[in-house]
């Protein structure tokens, strides 16, 4: 089986580590990944069969962009999901 390794570099100011690991969460279990931290950039190495690496790289990039968007949205939002969930649970607790 041919093994391919793809390297994806992302600027550290674009995405934080948690969001990055969130993307790694979704990588196919037949891919081996490695996360390297540089001064200015993250580097993600994905290795596996040629077709799978191709496919997973595409998906990974989509996930990165989605997570960057999520991060920006949560900053621009009036309040966070966590606050709303907390309020919901407080209302529930009061009710009973």
């Amino acid at each position: 089986m041919d093994i391919n390794i793809k390297s994806i570099k992302i600027n550290k100011d674009k995405i934080d580590e948690i969001s990055l690991r969130n993307c790694l969460y979704w990588v196919d279990e037949n891919i081996t990944w490695e996360l390297l931290e540089g001064d200015l950039k993250w580097e993600v190495l994905l290795s596996g069969s040629v077709d799978l690496v191709e496919k997973e790289t595409k998906l990974f990039n989509i996930n990165i962009n989605d997570n960057i968007l999520r991060f920006n949205l949560s900053r621009g939002s009036h309040s966070t999901r966590e606050q709303i969930i907390k309020n919901a649970l407080l209302k529930l607790a009061k009710n009973d």
């Binding site: 196919d28 279990e29 949205l73 949560s74 939002s77 009036h78 309040s79 709303i84 969930i85 309020n87």
Partner: protein, 470 residues
């Protein structure tokens, strides 16, 4: 011009460059890429007017001075959804016997042969079971007899029914027997019809699928099922029979034939159930099982076929997903958050064990993991439902905070399946990227949302199903 801000939402890119957004109020909106980009880049007033109005009505955006009020509204709506998921259980399963007259390949309960002794639920337990039900239940409940083949212990069913009628007098009970119809006779059918009992019968499709999936040493199982269904439809019209089809690898090539076989039986209600990949030995799954992609290819073809046909056929798996989308209904205990295990259903096994779902009963059969047992029928109800493992079931099945679920656009419509993840991965939450359950549900919701918003004919069909009630 109104000064808008946005409120928290989840999103996903769908087919044809469209986007779906959803929020904790349980609402969703299908958007063009342009509108989505305008939304996410705070260019609210550039959003197309109709979409803008919709987004505002659904609390995706709000005038800045209303943001706080709308957040309170969303929190209340979320609290309501959670509260609805925490109502008292409505489904009570009772297993009169583990004896069976079939050898279904996908059986997950370690059934035993028809005449084996020691595998019946003793009638002395009827009072205890009813005590537990009375303690747990509200006014409207469903009591479902499962097995093995429940009719092999018909006397138990009859006695249980008679006693329940007295002991649970104030409650509104729907009785169901899940049966393969092997032992059925006129006497049973008359009693079933007289007492308004429903039947739930597995019908996997044409003979080469049904008999293959569900063989029996006693008879040709396809003929047995079909002949008995026809008999009931002809001579016992008062009996409501619902059919369901469990999908195995053998079924995957034949979506249209499965639909046709249902139409031939004179029924317009289908219920397609995928297999769960646990409780089987690995090689058995290899013979029977499939990937989520393979299942969805089959399922899409089946739905497309139904839509083309002139008859008004309803596929109920799609319908309960639609109900989850449009009203976050909690009537289907297998797709809700917090999970339906214990909080939606309860199962009283032939040996007296109490489980929180049929799946946990099955899983216990193969693993003997005692943490799945809630208690025993002979225990006092008021001491039974306080164990710490129940707290875990509640704590670990909130999609809003589970990794893998919290950012998912479908989270408010989907649910938690803790037993599935316990079985396949060893913990109640599971790693969703490796989860067959998540793959199937994600693809189901992808399919339904894409079809609903991009295919007018399909949308019409779905709306028709929703309007007729479920």
């Amino acid at each position: 011009m109104i000064n808008y801000t946005h409120l928290p939402f989840n999103f996903k890119g769908l087919q044809d460059d469209k986007y779906l957004v959803s929020n904790l109020a349980g609402q969703h909106q299908h958007l063009s890429k342009l509108d989505f980009d305008n939304l996410t880049h705070a260019k609210y007033n550039q959003i197309e007017q109709k979409s803008l109005n919709s987004l505002e009505s659904k609390h995706f955006i709000a005038p800045k001075n209303e943001a706080k009020m709308r957040e309170s509204i969303i929190a209340s709506k979320l609290a309501l959804r959670i509260q609805n998921s925490l109502k008292r259980p409505t489904l009570f399963m009772v297993v009169p016997t583990l004896r069976c007259d079939h050898d279904c390949h996908y059986c997950q309960v370690s059934r035993v042969t028809e005449n084996k002794k020691g595998y019946d639920l003793e009638e002395k337990h009827i009072a205890g079971i009813l005590d537990h039900i009375e303690f747990l239940a509200d006014k409207h409940i469903k009591i479902e007899f499962q097995g093995g083949e429940p009719l092999l212990n018909f006397n138990f069913i009859r006695n249980f029914f008679d006693t329940a009628k007295i002991k649970l007098k104030g409650k509104h009970i729907e009785f169901v027997i899940a049966t393969a119809l092997g032992p059925i006779n006129n006497e049973m059918l008359e009693w079933i019809e007289l007492n308004n009992i429903h039947l739930s019968v597995s019908f996997d499709g044409p003979e080469h699928i049904h008999s293959n999936n569900r063989p029996s040493k006693k008879f040709n199982s396809y003929e047995n099922t079909v002949d008995n269904i026809r008999l009931i439809k002809k001579h016992f019209k008062g009996i409501d029979v619902s059919l369901l089809s469990t999908i195995t690898k053998q079924s995957l090539q034949h979506p249209k034939q499965i639909v046709d076989s249902y139409l031939e039986l004179g029924t317009k209600n289908l219920f397609i159930r995928p297999l769960s990949p646990y409780g089987f030995a690995t090689d058995t799954w290899g013979t029977l099982g499939y990937s989520a992609n393979e299942f969805m290819n089959f399922y899409k073809e089946l739905i497309a076929y139904i839509q083309e046909l002139p008859q008004d056929i309803i596929e109920h798996s799609a319908l309960f997903h639609l109900n989850r989308i449009f009203s976050q209904a909690t009537s289907y205990v297998d797709l809700k958050s917090p999970a339906g295990i214990v909080f939606g259903a309860m199962c009283f096994d032939y040996n007296g064990n109490i489980f929180g779902s049929d799946e946990s009963r099955m899983l216990w059969t193969s693993t003997k993991a005692d943490e799945l047992i809630i208690g025993h029928i002979s225990d006092e109800p008021k001491n039974t439902y306080t164990k710490p493992n129940l707290i875990a079931l509640l704590r670990d099945t909130f999609v809003e905070v589970n990794p893998g679920c919290n950012d998912c656009v479908y989270s408010q419509f989907c649910g938690a399946d803790p037993v599935h993840h316990l079985a396949t991965q060893g913990d109640l939450i599971g790693h969703k990227a490796r989860s067959f359950f998540c793959q199937i549900e994600t693809q189901m919701f992808d399919f339904i949302f894409n079809e609903y918003y991009l295919n007018n004919q399909m949308r019409k069909m779905f709306d028709g199903w929703l309007s007729n009630g479920s």
